[in-house]
């Protein structure tokens, strides 16, 4: 479990990004961290990984503070940065150098992942194309079998078949003990992988809810006329009518559209807050 306890963070004391953020993250879910560029997605992940420290408040990962960077903590977490950096090593050399830090690293998983993502294993890493490098680090990150896996924009730079392979790998890597965090602004790529949604904007957590709860509280549909008196979170004119997200008062079970939800929540945070009170 990850717990943020009154976390405040800013890159300078004058301009704070997060103010008094308190929330808990349970095991056994894939968290989708959604936000525009500069919204504070990577910042949040780096506070969990212990590469950035809160100015006030505390982050606890299973009771341990990441900022202490204890080896016993670091071996349980993998942070996959958005920008890929790979040294001039072969895949085997890279594994020999970095895998020993992760006691649950599985060579079988590693080669299986590389095979499924179609990354050749004989090449020097820095000679690979950007997309191949990205797939290599994904294959490695998943093979480390850490309890916590943080991935910053993992589908950036992947071609369409690789995105599908990526989803399959995530589905097979998931279990009740793990926490997988995926930050993205390309919601479509991962729509069906996420079961808990976090939407951040300007360092504010605007929404934190499970897909099940979203389905219970909101209904997503296309209507000819917007019903009067309904609590509307989002509308968008479409060819066939108007796409709306409104409060689900009749217990309807509709398909969630995360892109519309994201737009609705960032445009009307006050309405979202009313339907989904945080804390």
């Amino acid at each position: 479990m990850i717990r943020f306890d009154n976390l405040s963070f800013g890159y300078s004391h004058k301009k704070m990004l997060y103010n008094n953020l308190t929330l808990s993250v349970e095991n056994g879910s894939i968290y989708g961290l959604l936000g525009k560029n500069g919204a504070g997605k990577s910042t949040l992940l780096k506070n969990i990984a212990g590469t950035l420290f809160p100015i006030k408040g505390t982050v606890y990962v299973d009771g341990i503070e990441p900022r202490d960077r204890k080896p016993s903590f670091l071996r349980t977490i993998y942070y996959l940065a958005e920008d890929v950096y790979v040294p001039a090593l072969t895949i085997k050399q890279y594994q020999a150098l970095f895998a020993p830090f992760y006691p649950l690293f599985s060579q079988d998983d590693f080669y299986k992942n590389l095979r499924e993502l179609e990354v050749g294993i004989d090449s020097k890493l820095n000679k690979l194309s950007f997309g191949q490098q990205k797939k290599f680090v994904i294959a490695f990150a998943l093979a480390c079998n850490t309890k916590i896996l943080l991935m910053d924009e993992p589908t950036n730079g992947l071609d369409i078949p690789s995105k599908a392979q990526f989803r399959k790998l995530i589905a097979s890597a998931m279990n009740d003990e793990r926490i997988i965090f995926i930050s993205t602004h390309q919601i479509r790529d991962l729509e069906n992988m996420i079961d808990k949604v976090m939407i951040v904007d300007n360092g504010n957590l605007l929404l934190y809810s499970s897909i099940t709860e979203i389905g219970e509280k909101l209904c997503f549909k296309t209507v000819k006329q917007i019903p009067e008196g309904a609590n509307i979170l989002y509308t968008e004119k479409m060819l066939r009518g108007t796409s709306v997200i409104m409060e689900n008062i009749n217990g309807e079970d509709t398909a969630i559209n995360l892109e519309h939800l994201f737009n609705g929540v960032t445009e009307n945070p006050a309405i979202a807050q009313k339907i989904f009170p945080i804390n």
């Binding site: 989803r167 998931m174 079961d195 079970d253």
Partner: protein, 125 residues
């Protein structure tokens, strides 16, 4: 698999399982795909497949044998048909009735067309 945008994903997964049973690709009283394998195949979160399986268990279409896995019920096909019938009556029939009313189509005309349709598509010549 391509998902439609008019129904929650978990219900579409449940529908897929029902289709496999009706098509006899998955057999009654036999083991069915594990949650993980189906999640990988469909590229969805395993918790979503879990939700679909919970739903199918409530309908007694599948059974969870602890430690062994999920199995199709012995009478799975009858139960799928019963469930589909309920869904058809609840979701599709009102639309059909509404259009019949708007277009002033009589039930006798519909009966005739229904019988022709069955003759053309499902009767062996």
């Amino acid at each position: 698999m391509d998902f439609r945008d008019n129904q929650p994903i978990y219900l579409q997964i449940a529908e897929y399982v029902c289709d496999q049973l009706l098509l006899k690709k998955w057999l009654p009283a036999n083991k069915i795909l594990s949650i993980r394998d189906l999640a990988v195949m469909m590229e969805v979160n395993p918790n979503t497949v879990q939700r679909a399986y919970d739903f199918l268990q409530q309908q007694e279409i599948i059974i969870n044998k602890r430690g062994v896995g999920y199995f199709a019920d012995e009478n799975a096909i009858d139960k799928v048909i019963k469930l589909r019938k309920e869904q058809f009556i609840k979701n599709e029939l009102p639309l059909l009735f509404r259009n019949m009313y708007l277009l002033n189509l009589s039930t006798s005309e519909i009966t005739q067309r229904y019988e022709d349709f069955i003759d053309q598509n499902f009767k062996e010549s």
